[in-house]
Symmetry: C2
Subunit: 345 residues, 2 copies
C-alpha cells in the first residue's frame, strides 16, 4: 500500500525510488501533498485521489477561520490548489469534490467539528478504496481464462490505489480463485511504472511476471503468447472512451488486430459522465527530462525536440469490457456506465 | 559514418557511447570485429555487413597458408565465426558470402594475391554501400509528401550503414529535394538507437527532429500528426515479410489502423530470397540486462523474468512499399523482389 495515515501525518511511499529503495516520506501540509502528486511520489488515479483527500484535510486543519462561510471559501481554495497538481485523472477532483461536499453538508456545525469530519472522510476514502478494488477483482476475475497469459501496461496495482489494485486486483483475484496466471508487464516508458512498480509488487506476491519493453507486446501477440489485456484508467468518458497511461491506446489497437480481449478495470469514481467522449479529456504533457535522462544518465542529444504526453485515449470501440466495483459493462457504454455510476448492477 | 579504414586498421565509432561521447575504437583482428558486432559497437544491418567484410579481410591476412585450398578452408572458418556474431541481419552473411565468393573466384592465384584482393573487396563493399543508399534515397524520396511529418523507428541512418542511411537516406534525399520534412524518432527501447543515434545524426544535419517514446506513436497518429512511416530492415523474406528492430511490427499495425503509408528502405542485399516468408527468419534474443539496467542504474527488481527479442517480423500485407537501390516494390512482392535482386528496375 502506498499510503499510511496516523496521528495527523500522511506517509507516502516514494514510488520514484522503487524498486531499489523503499523510502517513506511524511506529509503534514496540503502544498507538500500537491507537490508529491505533481512530482509522482504517489501516482495512479485512485491513489492520488486518496492522497488529495488527506491534503484537503491538512489544508482544512490549518485554516484559521471562526466563521463557516469563510472556512468553506478558504477550503475551496485549498482544494483548487490540490486539483491543479495533475489534470488527467478524474479521481483527484472526484475526491476533492467529495471532501467539499462533506464539508458543505456539515455547514451547520462549528468549524472545529467540520475539520474533525474531514479527517474522518479522508480516512473513509482511503479505506473504501481497497474494498472497492476487492469487489472489482471479484467481478473481473470471472473474465480471466484459466490458464491465462495477461498483458498489463503501467501500474494499476496496490501502489496505484488504496490497496490491492484495479487491473492487478483482478489478476490477484484470478490467482486467489486458483487460476494459473502469468503476467507480462510493459515497462511503460518514460516513467517505467511497469518495470519499477508492477514487476516489484507482483514479484512480492509470488505471481509469475515477465518484464518486456513497450514495443514487444505486438511481437508476443503475433506469436500467440498473450490471452488478454487488462489495464487501469485515469478517466473514462460517458461513451466509454478511456484515458490511461501513454501507450495504452497502442496496446488496444494491437489487441484488436490479434482478436485478444482488452479489459479496463477502474472504480466508478474514474467515470466522468460530464464528458461526452474522450476527446474532451485533458492530456497532461510532462517534462522533457523524463525522456532524455534516466537519473543522471543522458540518453539523447542536448536540445533535441521532445514531446511527452503522459496519457492517451482508447476509443470505446476497442474496449471489450469495463470492470467496476458495481459490475461489468460490455458495450452499450453510454447506458451501462451511467447505470454503474448510479450504483446499478 | 560509423566505419573508417586506413593502413590495415578499421576504426569503428563506439555507438554504445553516443550521443554524449564520440569514441573511435581500432580493430585489426577478426575475433575483435565479431565481438564489436555482437556487443553493438557497430549495429545496423548494412554497417555490420561492412564491418564483417573487414573482419574477414583481417582473418584472411592472418592465415598462414601456402596452399590455396588450405587457405580457403581456413578462411571459411573465419567467416563462420563472424557470421555467428548476430543471427537476424542477412547483410552480415551476404557480405561474408561475397568475400568468400571473391576468394574462390581468385583461387587460381597465389594466396598473397587473394589476400590483397580481399582487402580491395572489403573496401568496395564499404564504398558501394553509401552509393547504394544515395540511389535508394533518390527513388524513395518521390514517395515522401511535401510537407511531411515522418515517423521512423530505430536508426536506419548513416550510423547503420556505410554512410547516408537507408530510411534516413530517403529522408535526407527528401530534404535535399527541397521538401519540408519533420521527423519523429521513436526512442527504440531497450538499446535506444532512436534517442541516442537517430536524434544525434539528424540534429547534426539540421533536420527538424522530435524524440518520442515508442509507446507514443499511436497517440500522435490518432491526432493526425504523422503522414508516413519509414524504417530500415534487417532481413526481407521472398514474400515481402520484413524483419526489423523490435517494435517495427507495432508501428506497422498502427500505421494500417490510421491509413498511413508504411515504407521500408533497404538494399537488395537485405532481401533473402531463400526464405519463403518471415516466419523462417531467426529472431535474436539478447541479454536481460539491456532491459533491467541503463548503465549502472537498476530499473527493475532483481531476478524478474525478462524476454528481450531484438527484432520482430512485419507481414508484407502491412508494407506499403519496399524501397531499394534498384527501384521500388509496391505489392506483388514475390515477383518484384526477385526482379529487384536480379538488378531489374
Amino acid at each position: 500500500k502506498p499510503l499510511r495515515y496516523a496521528g495527523g501525518v500522511l506517509q507516502m511511499l516514494d514510488q520514484r525510488k522503487l524498486p531499489t529503495e523503499e523510502i517513506w516520506l511524511d506529509y503534514r501540509d496540503y502544498r507538500e501533498v500537491a507537490e508529491g502528486i505533481q512530482t509522482m511520489v504517489v501516482r495512479g488515479a485512485p491513489a492520488i485521489g486518496c492522497a488529495a483527500a488527506f491534503g484537503a484535510w491538512f489544508g482544512a486543519r490549518d485554516i484559521e477561520a471562526e466563521e463557516t462561510g469563510d472556512f468553506l471559501d478558504r477550503f475551496a481554495a485549498v482544494c483548487d490548489h490540490l486539483a491543479a497538481s495533475r489534470p488527467t485523472a478524474v479521481n483527484l477532483s472526484w475526491a476533492l469534490q467529495r471532501m467539499q461536499g462533506f464539508a458543505r453538508n456539515h455547514a451547520d456545525r462549528p468549524v472545529e467539528q467540520i475539520k474533525i469530519a474531514l479527517e474522518y472522510e479522508a480516512l473513509a476514502i482511503l479505506e473504501e478504496d481497497e474494498r472497492i478494488n476487492r469487489a472489482m477483482g471479484r467481478h473481473g476475475q470471472e473474465l480471466i481464462p484459466d490458464p491465462a497469459r495477461i498483458l498489463t501496461h503501467c501500474n494499476a496495482g496496490a501502489l496505484a490505489t488504496g490497496g490491492y489494485g484495479t487491473a492487478l486486483g483482478v489478476i490477484r483475484a484470478a490467482v486467489a480463485a486458483g487460476k494459473q496466471v502469468a503476467v507480462l508487464a510493459d515497462e511503460t516508458r518514460p516513467f517505467l511504472q511497469g518495470a519499477r512498480l508492477t514487476a516489484w509488487e507482483l514479484q512480492r506476491d509470488g505471481i509469475d511476471t515477465t518484464l518486456i519493453c513497450d514495443n514487444m507486446a505486438g511481437y508476443l501477440m503475433s506469436r500467440g503468447l498473450i490471452d488478454c489485456v487488462i489495464v487501469g484508467a485515469d478517466r473514462i468518458a460517458a461513451n466509454g472512451d478511456v484515458a490511461n497511461k501513454i501507450g495504452t491506446y497502442t496496446v488496444a489497437v494491437l489487441a484488436r488486430e490479434h482478436r485478444i480481449p482488452f479489459y479496463v478495470a477502474a472504480p466508478v469514481s474514474t467515470i466522468d459522465l460530464s464528458l461526452a467522449d474522450g476527446s474532451l479529456i485533458p492530456i497532461e504533457q510532462r517534462d522533457r527530462r523524463e525522456i532524455t535522462h534516466i537519473g543522471d544518465i543522458q540518453l539523447a542529444p542536448d536540445n533535441i525536440g521532445v514531446v511527452n504526453p503522459a496519457f492517451d485515449v482508447t476509443p470505446a470501440r476497442l474496449v471489450t469490457a469495463i470492470i467496476t466495483e458495481h459490475g461489468i459493462a460490455t458495450g452499450n457504454y453510454p447506458v451501462r456506465l451511467a447505470e454503474l455510476v448510479n450504483c446499478g448492477g
